[in-house]
């Protein structure tokens, strides 16, 4: 889990152009400068590419809803990565 958090943190740093970003599972969109709906798309694309996964339309929506955080993203991600491991 923490290895994936590290990889995710790397993606966030690239997408937001901010090498000082530090993620924890409880990080929400409000905590990250510029995480608006546009940046959300940028993030989804970068995560898909880096992890080699594909999110469903509904998942993309859910991940930017009220209450979603980095932990929810990790959860969806590990669901997708599990079967191939």
């Amino acid at each position: 889990m923490s290895e994936q958090l590290d990889r995710l943190q790397d993606v966030f740093r690239d997408v937001f152009g901010d090498p000082s970003i530090v993620l924890s599972p409880s990080t929400t969109a409000d905590a990250i400068d510029g995480w608006d709906s546009l940046a959300h798309i940028n993030l989804i694309i970068a995560v898909e590419k880096r992890f080699g996964v594909k999110f469903a339309t509904a998942e993309i929506s859910r991940l930017k809803e009220e209450g979603a955080n980095v932990g929810s993203l990790l959860q969806v991600l590990s669901g997708k990565l599990q079967p191939t491991k």
Partner: protein, 664 residues
């Protein structure tokens, strides 16, 4: 020339940044760019990361002289979405004075979300040396923006409008059960609606419009039968695209998005998740290709297309080394897969030449031996007379490329150099960064794909002149031979039997005149660019005079080679634009054009001509144009601009060796 792979070890280029720090510990940006561009795929991300970090610190340290060219060099079409966004942020963080170039005002009217697309277009235009101010209309409001005369669009007054629309913005989609007549009527109505939008925008703005065609959706209703049923969506959309291509007026440029979608693969391109989430027109990663294409078209319309393809020989046009392997040993024959690969590349290059790209050779070789391949090898597709300039010697390639530009009389920044040898590519990029040097593999079949992707020779318009261009450059070489043998310049000019046709811009020569206005850099007094829409407006304005000149001689027709646009103000004729193609330099054509201008001015009762010279990095050639023609100085600005006047009373025409054809 390259011995078999001795200088190339695949994978030897590791992710570790090369040791390119100078004494002060600063990283050499050009070296890092080279490292990134040549990194093997598995190292690319790491190389990009270290490059970006150095770019940022160079920006913070204010080293813009180094940063701006390095940033431009990295902005190739093969970036991924996240990297291009990072480069866009960097581009936008530059102080405005570092990004100025020729400025254009672009309005983006979107039928979908254009935010990322317009950012990318802006950054790729910066890479092409064009800065732009962008107005982005709100999502989906393109019709209202155009039809409402009080909209922000008209407040902004763009000189380019980009209609970023797709098939979802169509007004009349047929039902599958509609009969062919009904489908044809709908299509007609649809075309008419778009044509009306173009017309209204054009009338109110005098601007060139870039209109997307429609990318055919990646699904069908009828499977294999789709293409045979006129009411099927894919067939209907394809039909509309054909209508756009055939009927759009000259002031509308069609952007072939459908081709782009097909190139990428319709299913990957049309990933609907991002349309549903964010109204994006395609899968986001292809917005990179989308923006690159759009900016290459706009750059072409501003004269930024490259003109000349320079080719290495050994392992670029044929397999093997002619000096070692001999005519029988090189691999360029039918019946052998590798040889046919090189022939496929030659065939591609020959087609570029046929539409006006100049070809040159730059090779480390013995010239006689190298030429022999073109003369004697029966399978060679390229022949000696396809090559406008053949340079095979043992000098370094950077010097040879400079010499090629000089001899062809074109800018060094209009060259593209293809060489299979990575060491030669690296040194050319370093010593003549103005030359485009694509990072090619060792497979000639991939050369084609790579050249296609870069669209170096993007076509904004195509005319009869383009098909004859390489002939002009070849016959110019013949003229040069006579020039050196003629006893004096007058004898030489007289021996050419020149004939000129001078007349106004007409609907028939409008495309060519516009092309010259947007391409000429050297013999161009003011370098004012105009779209065909703007030139058309001047043709219809009685206070403006338009002049074009066509020149032929005993070697052939040079085509339309000069344009003058002038405006009568009070009792002067003010010359707004005067330009001429460099292939007819020193023939006396500018004198003939001046005689014509004077006649026109006198006919209108005007008493003097006025002209100005506005210096650029490329038009030093015409600094003394007006004084050479007898104009007197009436002003000089600190920025180098000069103004000139020629009183018409008692002026006698200048004698030239050019006979006038009956006026058109």
């Amino acid at each position: 020339m390259r011995r078999v792979n001795a200088d190339r070890q695949p994978g030897s280029n590791t992710a570790r940044a090369p040791d390119v720090a100078d004494a002060a510990g600063r990283q050499d940006l050009a070296g890092l760019v080279e490292h990134y561009r040549t990194a093997v795929p598995s190292d690319r991300a790491a190389a990009f990361k270290s490059l970006l970090a150095e770019f940022k610190s160079a920006g913070q340290a204010g080293r813009f002289d180094e940063l701006v060219p390095a940033l431009r060099a990295v902005l190739t079409p093969d970036l991924d979405y996240t990297s291009l966004q990072a480069l866009h942020r960097l581009h936008k963080s530059l102080p405005p004075k570092e990004t100025t170039g020729k400025a254009l005002k672009l309005a983006v009217l979107g039928g979908f979300t254009t935010h990322q697309l317009k950012d990318f277009i802006e950054t790729y235009l910066f890479a092409a040396g064009l800065s732009c101010e962008i107005y982005e209309a709100d999502y989906g409001l393109f019709r209202q923006e155009i039809l409402d005369p009080t909209s922000h669009l008209y407040e902004f007054k763009p000189d380019r409008v980009f209609m970023a629309t797709n098939w979802r913005n169509l007004g009349y989609l047929p039902a599958l059960s509609d009969d062919p007549q009904r489908v044809a009527d709908l299509m007609d109505r649809e075309y008419h609606d778009w044509a009306t939008l173009w017309q209204v925008a054009h009338q109110r703005l005098d601007c060139q419009i870039l209109q997307n065609n429609f990318d055919v959706p990646p699904w069908t209703s009828l499977g294999n039968y789709e293409s045979r049923h006129p009411a099927a969506l894919a067939t209907y959309v394809a039909g509309l695209n054909r209508l756009f291509a055939e009927r759009a007026p000259p002031y509308v440029t069609i952007h072939d998005v459908d081709r782009l979608a097909a190139d990428i693969g319709r299913r990957a391109w049309g990933d609907q998740r991002f349309f549903l989430q964010a109204k994006l027109p395609c899968a986001p990663e292809y917005l990179v290709n989308y923006a690159y294409n759009v900016s290459s078209i706009m750059a072409a319309e501003h004269g930024r297309s490259r003109k000349c393809l320079v080719l290495d020989l050994d392992n670029t046009l044929w397999g093997g080394v002619i000096g070692d392997d001999g005519l029988g040993g090189i691999r360029v024959s039918q019946g052998d897969a590798e040889g046919e690969g090189f022939l496929a590349f030659q065939t591609y290059v020959k087609a570029l030449k046929a539409r006006g790209v100049i070809l040159a050779v730059c090779s480390k070789n013995d010239e006689k031996i190298a030429r022999e391949v073109f003369e004697k090898h029966p399978d060679m597709v390229l022949k000696l007379d396809d090559i406008s300039l053949f340079m095979a010697n043992w000098n370094d390639k950077a010097s040879n490329l400079r010499a090629i530009a000089l001899q062809l009389n074109i800018g060094i920044d209009s060259l593209v150099f293809v060489d299979d040898n990575p060491a030669e590519r690296a040194i050319v990029r370093r010593l003549v960064p103005e030359v485009a040097v694509p990072e090619v593999t060792t497979d000639p079949v991939e050369f084609i794909e790579i050249l296609e992707r870069h669209q170096y020779f993007q076509v904004a318009s195509l005319g009869a002149e383009d098909f004859k261009r390489s002939e002009y450059y070849r016959t110019n070489a013949m003229r040069a031979t006579i020039e050196s043998s003629a006893a004096n310049i007058d004898d030489f000019l007289a021996s050419l039997d020149m004939q000129a046709a001078i007349g106004p811009v007409t609907p028939q020569n409008l495309e060519r005149a516009t092309q010259l206005i947007n391409k000429s850099n050297q013999f161009n007094l003011t370098t004012r660019r105009r779209s065909s829409a703007e030139v058309m407006a001047l043709m219809n304005d009685p206070t403006w005079l338009t002049v074009t000149a066509q020149l032929s001689d005993r070697f052939g027709d040079n085509g339309l080679v000069s344009v003058v646009l002038a405006h009568s103000v009070g009792n002067s004729l003010e010359i707004d634009t005067w330009l001429m193609s460099c292939r007819v330099l020193k023939r006396g054509l500018e004198q003939s054009v001046l005689n014509h201008l004077c006649e026109l001015a006198i006919k209108q009762g005007l008493s003097r001509l006025r002209g100005e010279y506005m210096p650029t990095s490329k038009n030093d050639l015409v600094r003394e144009h007006y004084p050479n023609l007898g104009f007197i100085s009436i002003g000089a600005e600190p920025d180098g601009r000069t103004s000139w006047e020629l009183p018409l009373a008692e002026r006698k025409p200048i004698k030239t060796f050019i006979k006038m054809a009956a006026e058109t």
